[in-house]
Each structure stands twice: as structure tokens, then as C-alpha cells.
């Protein structure tokens, strides 16, 4: 993959896009809270994946309908309020937001996707949000990707952008939050853009493949948001139709970059934990085992305490239905095989737990399939941040 100098960063790295991030006053903190991303074409192709939580926020219900048409002219995103569990009036608020964007940009409201993130169960301050839309429309710029990425932050400590340029086309994007299947209070919102000429079905295939092995495999705390949204918009402004596999790989690479940034900024975390499961009978088995380990609070505490407690890993593996023989399990922590054949292996004192990144490898000795899931340690800071959120 060749990386070339780019006009903008994040969602404006690809040609044919403008973006803005402004302070509408939705957040009490007075920091930027409204972002707008506009596709200037010539194409308006788009694809999206959304939370599998059955309690879906109004903007998710709206955007799912928009994406069925396969065309997106603009995406408007707000932090400072999730607009979830707000009933029919909350849905009207989302609709009104899309209409205001359509007015400001002279496009069709049915082609405006909406994303929201923040506290559940409260209506959005529309008297601030709607003027914010007008303000953002005026601020749109070909190098506005960074401002947009800043405006969607909630508890994120840094904004997240990434891009990859292959031949004459680019995939770029921005993200906020701390997980997909598992965002904390931080819903995950991602907008990816490309100037490649790819139609909506092609975008959908690339996005689903990328999400399956990136955003779907970060799991900061096992909790699933009502608002998670990942969008991919194509302007076709490069005039180039890429090889589908090459395009899918670029989307995957940018998604993986953003996913890694999300885990690195998860709430209260002091360690990033990569769980590699190898030797599984199937990829699903590998994934079930990796997720079970990733969601084990006791292990997450042990890693926080820099304790190579492999018993926690085995206990977690034992709760799954994956194919394995308990007496054949091997577990390594940061490369030291502390558990061999289901019992004590190499000296646990050889494990260096001091790096920020901790790698746990579990070999099931049941086949050749593998999977990797990322998570974080469980810390007193996580407890503090999430016990003092809405009050």
C-alpha cells in the first residue's frame, strides 16, 4: 500500500468530501459537539452497519431507512445526547435534523444519515442543535476532517482519524468511542469515505467484511450501545474503479487502524489486551473463546495488576462450547507459555507484564482456525468514570 500526501485528514482525505465540526452548545462543557460530512460526488453511493442491540436509538432507526436507498449525500453527527429511548418525539427530532441539513445543503432529507452519542433517555436541545446545523454547513471545508473528528468526541481523550491511499484512490475515516459489540458509555460512531468509484453493493460487501474482523472484534466492556453506527460513503471523485479485493483490503486496513485507536483510548484503561486464539476447530470457536476471555472481569483485573494469572484464562475458556480437550490447552502471556497441557507450564515470573500492550495466546489444539479480539483491563478509573456519568 502506497501512502501519498493527502488534501485533508480523516473523512476529507478522499476527494469529493467536505466536512466541519462546530460547537452548537449541546454539550454543557462548551466543546465542539456537531459534525457534518458532505459528499460532493459525482457519486453518492453508501453502505452502513448498525448496532445489533434491539433497543435502537432514533438516529439508528432513521439511518437504517436512509441506507436502504444506498445513497447518502451527508452525515450529521452530534455528541452530547444519544437520542435513545426518547419515543416518537425523539424520532421527530432526528427527522427534523435531517430536514435542516437537506435545507442547508439543498439535498434530499432521505439521503441524510444521522448519528448521535451521549446519555440515553433525554431529548436533544433542538433549539441549539438546528442552528448548529446551519453553522456547520457554513463551515464546510475540504480540510474539515479533523474538526469533524473532534466534534464527535464524548469521553474520548483524543480524536481518531485514519486513511490509506492505493494507486489513485483513497479511503479515509474518523471514529469515536470504545467498542462495537462493546462500547462503554462511549457509543462507537465511524464514518469512512472514499473517492473510489464503487457502487452501494460493492461498498456494503467491503464494509461488512472489514467490520467483521475489526470493529466487531474490539470489546472494551461487553456492553452494547443503542447507537453504534459505521458508514462508508463513496464519491467516485477519483474516477477510478478499484479491484474489489484491493478496495476491501484498504477499507479493512483503515478500519483496523481506527479500531486499534479506539481500544487504545478506552475509558479508564491502563492496558490494551490482545487475545489471540489459535488451533481452533472453526473460526466461530476461536471467536467464542476469544470473546469469553475478553469479557472476564477477573482476568481484566488481573492484567491491571500485572498478574499473569492464567487460571483466569482457563476458567473463561471452560465456559464456552468450543471444541477442545481441557488437558490439551496451552496459554501464553506475552510470549511465555505459562500453561501447557492444561496445567502449570513455564515460570510465570518470566512474564513481563509492564508494557501497555499485553498479548494472551490460547492454543486449543483442535484445528487450524484463529481469531483475535482486543479488550482492555478493568480499572478503578473505569469504575469511577462510569459511576459518575449522568449525575
Amino acid at each position: 500500500m502506497t501512502t501519498l500526501p493527502l488534501a485533508g485528514t480523516g473523512v476529507t482525505a478522499a476527494r469529493g468530501f467536505r466536512a466541519a465540526g462546530v460547537t452548537a452548545g449541546i454539550k454543557a462543557s462548551g466543546t465542539p459537539d456537531l459534525a457534518l460530512v458532505v459528499n460532493d460526488g459525482p457519486a453518492l453511493a453508501a453502505a452502513g452497519v448498525f448496532t445489533s442491540n434491539r433497543i435502537k436509538a432514533a438516529p439508528v432507526l432513521w439511518s437504517q431507512q436512509v441506507l436502504k436507498g444506498g445513497l447518502v449525500s451527508a452525515v450529521v453527527l452530534n455528541s452530547g445526547g444519544a437520542n435513545a429511548c426518547t419515543g416518537p418525539l425523539g424520532f421527530q427530532d432526528t427527522h427534523a435534523t435531517a430536514e435542516r441539513v437537506a435545507e442547508a445543503l439543498d439535498c434530499n432529507a432521505g439521503e441524510v444519515a444521522v448519528c448521535s452519542t451521549g446519555l440515553i433517555g433525554e431529548r436533544l436541545p433542538m433549539e441549539k442543535l438546528l442552528p448548529g446545523v446551519d453553522q456547520a454547513a457554513l463551515a464546510l471545508a475540504a480540510d474539515g476532517g479533523e474538526a469533524a473528528a473532534v466534534a464527535i468526541k464524548t469521553t474520548d481523550t483524543v480524536h481518531k482519524t485514519a486513511s490509506a491511499t492505493v494507486g489513485g484512490w483513497t479511503v479515509g475515516g474518523m471514529a469515536k468511542g470504545a467498542g462495537m459489540l462493546a462500547p462503554g458509555l462511549a457509543t462507537m460512531l465511524v464514518v469512512l469515505t472514499t473517492d473510489a468509484a464503487v457502487d452501494s453493493p460493492g461498498l456494503d460487501a467491503a464494509l461488512r467484511a472489514a467490520t467483521r474482523t475489526t470493529f466487531d472484534r474490539i470489546d472494551s466492556d461487553g456492553c452494547m450501545s443503542t447507537n453504534d453506527t459505521v458508514l462508508l460513503l463513496a464519491s467516485g471523485a477519483s474516477g477510478i474503479t478499484p479491484d474489489p479485493e484491493e478496495f476491501a483490503e484498504a477499507v479493512r486496513a483503515v478500519s483496523a487502524d481506527l479500531a486499534r485507536q479506539l481500544i487504545g483510548d478506552a475509558e479508564g484503561a491502563s492496558k490494551d489486551i490482545r487475545i489471540d486464539v489459535t488451533g481452533a476447530a472453526t473460526e466461530n470457536d476461536a471467536l467464542e473463546v476469544a470473546r469469553s476471555v475478553a469479557r472476564n472481569n477477573l482476568l481484566k483485573c488481573a492484567v491491571h495488576g500485572e498478574d499473569p494469572n492464567w487460571g483466569r484464562v482457563l476458567s473463561a475458556i471452560g465456559t464456552t462450547a468450543a471444541a477442545f480437550d481441557p488437558d490439551s490447552l496451552d496459554v501464553a502471556i506475552n510470549g511465555v507459555w505459562v500453561c501447557r497441557s492444561g496445567q502449570t507450564g513455564d515460570d510465570r515470573n518470566l512474564v513481563d507484564m509492564s508494557p501497555r500492550e499485553v498479548v494472551i495466546t490460547a492454543d486449543l489444539h483442535a484445528g487450524n482456525a484463529t481469531a483475535t479480539v482486543w479488550t482492555n483491563d478493568l480499572t478503578a478509573d473505569y469504575v469511577h468514570e462510569n459511576s459518575a456519568y449522568s449525575t
Copy 2:
């Protein structure tokens, strides 16, 4: 239920049992760490339920075999080491422990159940444990139930006993730990005894029914131990064969009492959280929803912060496959219906979160089935206790 004065407490509340708790030196702390419970008959009927974790400790594998025979003369329990993931040599240690008990009591080693709790992956110090067995056999007493309950503590701050006397027979018991499907580092061990004349299949039926709605419905941190064991032993010393339903209810009541004590003493907890799900289409639906809410780290943090954050409850419900309409969900926190019809209900400021016990009620409006699950809040103390465990 009539409660009469009892000879002993806990496992010696019922006639026909002796018990002891001694310091064998297994624990570095020098506190009691070995308990022995002996059934003096005339009957030796028994039943047991064990962890569903596929990684089972040596004492679980051994005791499962013992219980297949339906007869138990004695139970030996040690704290200070789980004897899990210790391979064939660990299993030999369990076997040798049972043999030593059989020698000391002149009974059949195949009728000696063994329970262990403590760190995974380390061999037990048999040179200390085996003399401890002899010491415990000498200390056996008809009022030894309390000493036995003390000797099985690990991170428990108090020992737990309970009993119920109905007509002329008694059910008593002791417990340690913090969960069943969900013990922390604290494996759950429970020994129940009765002087009622009930055969092994009758005990098994009563025990499974009781466990299903008590120990199986406490979930302190979603983690499942390799060592969980619940045993019920009947001496028949009362000479009375009770009505099966009355007997089952007494076993359930004692189990519920012990389960409530376990939740009240869970690691680092500052709140006990009861989750009542009502209006479910089936009991399984109610249970799935209750467990999902109980395992939501974000909700557990919010309760710790005394924040009536009902959005966390809805997010958790939304991850289940239970029958419900998102727009029909009602949620109450300590009696205040803060969420009605899937959106903001009564004023959240009316909720008093200050009591130790917090009750969350979710009405699915999908039927008449109900279920209750108990859990705890997630605290910095939990993180501290579990990040500094083995090191």
C-alpha cells in the same frame, strides 16, 4: 415453618452429623483452612450439583464420581488452594485426601467427597493437608458446624450458616464464596445436611429445584469457577420421612438464605442488587433478561455511583432474544418507574439509591412469567482485590 432450638449450627444443626474446622497450614495467613463434615447415619444418602465449567478442578472430578453412588460418609473441604489445572498429580492429591479421611474415620474412600477453593494452577501442600485431616478427625464435634464454616472462608469477610426446622426434622448448611454461575475468585462451596429420612433420588430432586432458583441466580461478576460444589447429605437420624414438597421447600429456604448471605458478602461490593423481571413470555426469557442486566458492567458502576441510570437497563435488555416490544418496556428503580413505555417516565430524582439493597424491576409486558437474579455493584475495591490476588 417452625424454628426450634438446635444442637449445633450450620451443618451440625441436623442430627446425625459432626463437623470440625482446623488450621492445617495450607493458607499462608495461618487462619483455619480445613473442614470435615461427617454423616453418622443411620443413612448416608447424598446428592450434589457441580460447576458447569468444562475446566473442572480435581476435587470436582472426584466428587462427581463419589456422588454417582448416592452415598457420602464425609466431606473434606480445604481453602488455600483450588487444586484446579493441576493434571494427574493433582487428581492423585484429591484421591489421597479422600483415602486419608477414610482411614481416619474407618469408612470407604469412595464415599468421601472432596472440595477445594483457592488459587488455580498450584499443587496443594499435601505434607500439611494430610496431617490436617487427622487433626480434623480428632476435633469432630456435634457442635462443630461453626468451626467448619469458618475454615472454608477465602476472601469471605464472615462465615455463612443457615438452618430450618420443620416438624421433627431439620435442614442446615454452610456456604462460602460469592456466586454459583458467577463466583469471583471465591469459588462457591455449599454443604447442606438434614436428619430427615430421604433417599438419594429424593435429595437430588430437592437440591436441583432449590439450586435452580437460589445459587444459580446469584451472579456477582459473571465469572464461573472451576470448583463450585453444592452437596446435600441426609442422615435420617430424625426417623421422619417428610412430605417431599415440604422437604423441597425447606431445602430451598436454607439455600435462599445462604445465597443471600453470599451476595451480601461479595468481593468489594457496596450494594446488593436484586433484579426482578416480570411480564415475561417464559421463565427462560425472564431469566435471560435478568442475567443480562446483572452482568452489565456499566449498570453495576452506575448503581455504585447511586445513579438511577435506567438507560443502562434498557441497553442490557436489548441484547437479549427475549420476547418484548422496545416501546412497551417499563423499568423501576427502588419502586420509582423511571422508564415507562421505553422512554423517560417518573422523575429520576425521586429514586432513593442510598440503601445497601437496590431493586431494579423490568416489566416486559409480554406475558406472566417472572425471575429474580441477585448481583452486586462494581467497585474500585473489586478491581483492587482482584488485581492483587495471586501476586
